[in-house]
Symmetry: C2
Subunit: 505 residues, 2 copies
């Protein structure tokens, strides 16, 4: 085979694609190692697996920051005869490569080492229910994140540099504004719902085997097939793509409630995003979801906007009755069942929070993280600040660190800037949903028949197929004509809960 | 952390170990990708997985042939203050690196490409039952193997260079001598057994679920535990190591016979070799089985020398009766059952062959491969030669290519030099077994109690722990005091079948 002519744009592009293919292969190998670690690996394999993941990560970083790659990207960035898709790909890769090059290897190694130490400290602190045991590790993490932020001196706010790891074109300022509006809408809404009295409870039990049957049927209705997907068990459910033709989704089930099937809808939502990326982007680094916030919008859309809607359950409620029996559903009819799966309870634990209160947990973490990075809050005062904010936002007293400041492992990973993406997902999902309902007037009828094809095609067309060719902001504007905006989410919640609980706006 | 001093032997060794760790991590990632491909991957993932495996293989090859690695190996090879284990490790890696460097990248790429083409041709030829459709692809493979052999001009025979990919210190001449002796002993023995009349048959059925229970129990008695092993289903059973603390074994079951449990014993035998390598060799390239022949000796030892012995079944036969019932075993007592699982039937298909006739299938392939490489046999005449040899060695007529020359996929992979390792495994296993029986006089009592610990410890001490620190020949001499020798295998077979069938020697 003749080698590509490296002096032409087409030849340079071919050389670039070879390098991107290699990077994507390393990512694939790494993702597989991670998937296996959480689903299949015998416990004895953990130490060796850690080394493998570190090596694959280091090789990928070396290849992304290779000056030869930079030279190719520079040459193509200046080329005038590049098609639009290729130009977007080159720009996206150049952004990633630039970010990777700006962080010194020494700092990456320091962060990796600190992450290992901090996890041990977090586990010890949590077991002892004593934040003080985690404090030194977190202080060092905050310090290292400060060094990381300093690698991007052009950022308007030190927290921007962290946020940009997950949301490349959002600013701290914008998130602050949007979250303020969100908080202002949510707090009174949740109070009104509480005043309407407690919703019905579903007594269960929901045997695990029946839940798996239900979850598998719903997954198929969302687009799951055996040719391109797997659904396995994992302690912490997640979705992972090994290329758009091999999507791995995981779940766990607990017979006391229906978290399992909702978690499957959520993860299939993530998986479908990866599954529907344009196959032309295979074996590049841009053939994947563009940001965590957009990714979360896809999972939340299926979990909440589809999966907690009346239309959806018109189809699936009879199947629930068949599988679990009327007693497990507490004798509820469809309306009662909907009130139950849309129950709102302010609670201490984020991962157990409902659709309405969830974002408040995120806002709490965002405000604390920003203050830590600004230096207006010391790690020493974090637990007190956490408890005060919990009272302010959720109206709850925190009895212990375990169910408060030590509940999530994310800070042990040093992952500041990550939490906001969860609430951004809720916000974006509602923005998309508003447009989808306008574009697909027959959507409720589809859902009531167990049909989702038109919805999936809409998502493919407006979000999924583009991979990373557009920034999250461009993608959102392209699909909805708007920037990040909390109002559609607040409107959706108010409308839904008003109908369910008879609130008066 | 201070960097190692690269001017000292200890410092150079540390740098070498980092590089070997990286190579081992790539092998681990690659093995995992292969394991997943055969056990878990949805079919849609195949194309992307092929790319990932190619990239990981290419990166490992680049790193093994890196001049900086050669320089480290040269410096350490000349160092006088290296301990014996490290010196052996350096020598073993240097041999691998030398072999890898001697084959030009162009030839590796040609072979890889031809392997893809030849597999397609083989599948088509097999479906059409027409060797002519595979002939051109195999001709090209033989040509490329000739080029490969030419990279090692010091070899006494062109086939040596191929054999050395799997058995680093065996020669074609030696294999020819040993196989000639083996053939001379096997052909009359098999004739005598046939004259003794047909053995009892086990009518079955053997439900798959019960076989899985039996196989899992036997596996545990061989050393399987949930902390370090997995046992999964695969179309073609295999064992794979992801480091000595993560061993993956696979199997398949067919309710018409007991191939499944015997295949599990075989694969656990492979797995145990990897499991018992000295942990000090972790994250090097020498912490794995040293050759395919030695590996196969471990699997055959458990499958045949343990797994078809009277002592073993004194423990497990009652459990068989419990699981499958007396009717499935055709009402045989222990003696009858042993005759049945030690039945000898010359047959056309290698993978279905019994302990006695199996090696003849291998000798047939070895003789044909050597003639192809010597140029004394043309691919055009291969089918005729195959059929003649089948008549000579097994006394059978070959009705069609599908059950003759096209039965195995190995030649489509271009893998000449690989088949002999299967018979070498049988031979080595019997050589080891002779010494083991002398060293462990209580072995039969152990097996009759379902106990294998002393046996496993013997194998760890004499074979497993050494990884690749000794060549196969050194290892065999160290454990048995002898070179490769067919006589113990022939003696074992004659003694066993004489007892079972009342042959007169």
């Amino acid at each position: 085979m003749p080698s590509p002519d490296p002096t032409s744009t087409a030849g340079t592009l071919e050389v670039l694609r070879e390098r991107l293919g290699e990077l994507d292969d390393l990512r694939h190998a790494s993702s597989l190692a991670g998937w296996d670690e959480q689903t299949m690996m015998p416990p004895g394999g953990a130490a060796a697996r850690g080394e493998v993941l570190a090596t694959l990560g280091r090789l990928a970083h070396e290849k992304l920051t290779d000056p030869a790659l930079t030279a190719l990207l520079d040459r193509l960035g200046a080329a005038e005869d590049l098609g639009e898709t290729d130009a977007r790909m080159v720009a996206a890769v150049a952004r990633d490569a630039d970010r990777a090059r700006r962080v010194p290897d020494r700092l990456i190694a320091d962060i990796a080492r600190q992450t290992t130490l901090a996890q041990v400290a977090w586990h010890e602190a949590r077991a002892a229910d004593d934040f003080a045991l985690f404090r030194p590790a977190l202080e060092r993490h905050v310090e290292l994140r400060g060094e990381l932020a300093a690698c991007f001196p052009e950022a308007a706010h030190p927290y921007d540099a962290l946020l940009h790891n997950f949301e490349p074109d959002l600013t701290t300022e914008r998130v602050r504004t949007v979250f303020a509006e969100l908080k202002e809408g949510l707090v009174p809404l949740i109070r009104e719902i509480a005043a309407a009295g407690p919703p019905p409870r579903l007594p269960g039990p929901f045997p695990v085997e029946q839940q798996r049957i239900l979850a598998a049927e719903i997954a198929r209705a969302q687009g799951f097939d055996d040719e391109h997907w797997r659904l396995d068990l994992a302690v912490h459910p997640f979705a992972m793509s090994l290329g758009s033709s091999d999507i791995r989704v995981t779940c766990r089930y607990d017979e006391s409630g229906l978290m399992g099937p909702f978690a499957v809808m959520h993860e299939i939502g993530h998986g479908l995003y990866e599954r529907q990326v344009d196959p032309a982007l295979e074996r590049t680094t841009v053939g994947t979801g563009v940001s965590l916030g957009i990714h979360e919008s896809q999972s939340r859309l299926w979990e909440n906007l589809v999966g907690r809607s009346e239309a959806f359950w018109r189809h699936w409620h009879p199947r629930m009755l068949e599988l679990f029996g009327a007693d497990a559903l507490g004798g509820t009819d469809l309306a009662g069942f909907l009130r139950a799966v849309n129950a709102v309870h302010p609670s201490l634990i984020r991962v157990e929070a409902d659709e309405a209160t969830y974002s408040l947990h995120v806002i709490l973490r965002f405000e604390l993280e920003v203050a830590l990075m600004e230096g207006t809050l010391a790690v020493a005062d974090l637990e007190t600040a956490w408890n005060e904010k919990t009272k302010e936002l959720l109206g709850l007293d925190v009895p212990s660190a375990k169910v408060g400041v030590l509940q999530d492992i994310h800070w042990a990973y040093g992952e500041l800037g990550y939490f906001p993406t969860y609430a951004i997902g809720n916000i974006v999902a509602a923005q998309l949903w508003q447009v989808i309902r306008r574009d697909l007037p027959g959507l409720d009828d589809d859902l009531a028949r167990g049909e989702t094809l038109a919805l999936r095609e809409w998502l493919r067309e407006h979000i999924h197929r583009h991979g990373c060719l557009y920034t999250p902001g461009e993608l959102l504007r392209g699909a909805t004509g708007a920037d990040l905006d909390a109002r559609p989410f607040l409107e959706h919640l108010r409308a839904k809960y008003s109908a369910l609980y008879g609130l008066t706006a």
